[in-house]
């Protein structure tokens, strides 16, 4: 069973956002509404689609996350970078990156 959350980009500024428990969008991945069943994931994606229709976000999709200590963190490197920002540029790598990311950064 996968632990998943929904991410998208905000229409107005393109910033990365995550669907929250309250049904809003947050730029913090730890605010994500996390689900563990396929039915819940479909429901979550449906509710994200309503935000597409309302011109709030673009292209929502499900991502796999870990949910230790009640705080979501993406499993894939791409989604980790989306959540935390560039790893080695003028924006310095923030805390919370995985060991694999820190090794290169």
């Amino acid at each position: 069973m996968k632990t998943q959350a929904v991410t998208a980009n905000l229409l107005v500024d393109g910033r990365v956002a995550f669907l929250t428990w309250e049904g809003d969008w947050s730029e913090k991945v730890e605010d994500s509404h996390v689900v563990t069943s396929n039915e819940e994931a479909e429901w979550l994606l449906d509710s994200a689609q309503r935000a597409v229709s309302a011109q709030v976000v673009i292209d929502p999709y499900l991502i796999e996350v870990s949910d230790s200590n009640g705080s979501a963190w993406p499993l894939s490197r791409r989604e980790q970078i989306r959540a935390a920002g560039p790893t080695g540029t003028i924006d310095t790598a923030p805390d919370g990156l995985t060991a694999g990311l820190k090794q290169v950064a």
């Binding site: 229409l11 490197r77 791409r78 790893t87 540029t89 003028i90 090794q103 290169v104």
Partner: protein, 549 residues
């Protein structure tokens, strides 16, 4: 420099108005994302990993100081205070907002700039030798023809929906600083036996997942027939290029599958139909455009103080050795400004640095700046007696790294830190290599070594033509890096060969160190890395990396 006429001004102004309305309709829901996406891409606005990225065209890499100031303003006001100069001589802003995009385009239009045709399956910004107009050995200034191509190709109705994007590069010098042989069309200005000036026409070069060196399909094309010949090439491609598979849609695949000879015959047949009626260039029109690129009035210069400084200040002399090139005018110099300081992202410049470069251009370079495809900047008209003061000013802005052409002058694509297509990161690898070779004395001892890094097979970091190329590959979620050796983007262009299995991200930098060590042990006299590699072959490098298995 070229200045907009009434047509340019109207065209760019109308595009800003159109896009402002399109953005308004997107934000109020009148346009869906599917409807809007192609419209924003027509204006260079991509959605990348973290935000909207705006790619701004810098025609043939030439900027005025006024334009550079506007880029700094955009970086500061609409972005996070920096911009990224690209391998296509353009600039990208990584953190723009959709609602600001029309205002950014309006600001760009004030200084005769835009983002038209920086995306999509169109003819993109034509690139040129960054030393155009000032290189000592140049036949003619390629920017004249780049500007003519720009005017011909902008919103060209027949070529607005090509099978894939299309890139043209032009050089006027024998030494190729524009990588013309890895473009869809490369044009090299040549003189024939009678002394007439025209073009060698090369077609079908490119990188990506199927790298190819362009084939010469015409040794000499009279320059007045440039546009009709380009039109013939584009027509053959537009009709016969594949549209069923985007990975096989570039013209290089068509040239390869037909064979250069057959492709040439088809182009010549098409050209025979339109060469008389086609858009050929009148001498008066070439002269009109050429006048915009007339050489400035150079002064008589006494270079004695410059020569003295070279003996007095070794650090300055080291910078001159790598970052200063001969100018066609006695007493002047071409200055390359490195955007590769130790440990920084290649090609990035802060707003403050852009403003400083604009200041230096006004004070020392007749208001003119160039962007190189190697992600550096150039001041093309610096009086030799001004070099020392310029160098001191650049040092204050962290822009005086003496590493042009050396191992830390790395081309790197944005990679997975920014790009929606990338599978691995390239900037952090470049930063680690830059730190490993931070000792400039060592870099100068190693000599010219072109190292290029791409974060995926699309090869935006030009790894195929690096003396050392590094390609990031994703293996089950882990970043690995494959090394190619022997690539070159110069007049002897070549595609590098894969040396062996990829290295983990932890080991890739040590592998580069190993390659450099093998080179230093085996080089003769003044051989560059690539010369030694071509002489000794892969074996010693491979054995050092993998053992003699």
């Amino acid at each position: 420099m070229y200045r907009y006429d009434a047509y340019d001004t109207q065209l760019v102004g109308e595009r800003v108005t159109q896009f402002r309305d399109q953005v308004r309709r997107r934000l109020d829901g009148s346009l869906s994302e599917d409807e809007f996406r192609p419209l924003r891409l027509l204006n260079g606005l991509y959605l990348q990993l973290h935000a909207y990225m705006l790619r701004v065209a810098i025609p043939y890499g030439t900027l005025s100081s006024e334009q550079m100031r506007m880029l700094a303003h955009i970086a500061r006001r609409y972005d996070k205070g920096y911009g990224h100069f690209t391998t296509r001589q353009n600039i990208q802003f990584n953190w723009t907002r959709l609602e600001d995009a029309p205002d950014i385009l309006a600001d760009l239009a004030k200084v005769e700039m835009h983002a038209i045709q920086t995306s999509g399956n169109t003819i993109r910004n034509t690139t040129a030798d960054p030393f155009a107009g000032v290189a000592a050995e140049e036949i003619e200034d390629p920017r004249i023809y780049c500007e003519i191509i720009r005017q011909w190709s902008t919103l060209h109705p027949e070529f607005s929906f090509l099978p894939r994007k299309f890139k043209i590069a032009v050089t006027g010098a024998r030494e190729d600083r524009a990588a013309v042989r890895v473009h869809d069309i490369g044009l090299a200005i040549r003189r024939d036996n009678s002394g007439e000036v025209g073009f060698e026409v090369m077609v079908g070069g490119g990188q990506g997942r199927t790298p190819m060196i362009a084939k010469t399909i015409r040794e000499f094309l009279p320059k007045d027939q440039l546009l009709s010949y380009l039109e013939a090439i584009l027509r053959v491609y537009n009709l016969a290029g594949r549209r069923d598979n985007k990975y096989k849609a570039r013209i290089k695949i068509l040239v390869h599958e037909l064979g250069a000879e057959t492709f040439h015959e088809q182009v010549e047949a098409e050209w025979a139909q339109l060469r008389d009626a086609g858009p050929n260039l009148q001498a008066v029109e070439i002269a009109r455009i050429a006048a915009f690129f007339d050489p400035p009035r150079y002064e008589e210069v006494d270079s004695a103080s410059y020569q003295a400084k070279l003996f007095q200040d070794r650090t300055f002399a080291d910078w001159v050795r790598t970052n200063v090139a001969p100018h066609k005018q006695d007493g002047y110099a071409i200055v390359s400004i490195s955007l590769k300081p130790e440990g920084e992202a290649p090609g990035d410049a802060t707003a403050a640095q852009m403003e400083a470069v604009a200041d230096f251009a006004e004070r020392y370079s007749l208001q003119e700046i160039r962007v190189t495809h190697e992600q550096n900047l150039v001041l093309p008209h610096v009086r030799q007696p001004d070099l020392y003061a310029l160098w001191q000013g650049l040092r204050d802005q962290e822009l005086a790294t003496a590493n042009i052409g050396l191992i830390s002058d790395i081309i790197a694509c944005p990679g997975l830190d920014y790009c929606g297509l990338a599978t691995t990161r390239s900037i952090p690898v470049a930063q680690r290599i830059s730190r490993l070779f931070a000792n400039l004395d060592r870099q100068h001892d190693i000599g010219e070594l072109r190292l290029k890094i791409s974060g995926c097979i699309n090869a935006c970091g030009h790894h195929h033509v690096g003396h050392i190329g590094i390609l990031g590959v994703d293996r089950k979620g882990e970043e690995y890096y494959q090394i190619t050796l022997g690539g070159r983007a110069d007049e002897n262009a070549a595609i590098g060969k894969i040396i062996g299995p990829a290295f983990s991200s932890a080991n890739i930098v040590d592998a580069v160190e190993t390659l450099v060590t093998v080179y230093l042990e085996r080089r003769r006299d003044h051989e560059r890395f690539v010369d030694t590699y071509e002489r000794v072959g892969q074996t010693p490098f491979k054995e050092a990396l993998y053992g003699s298995r």
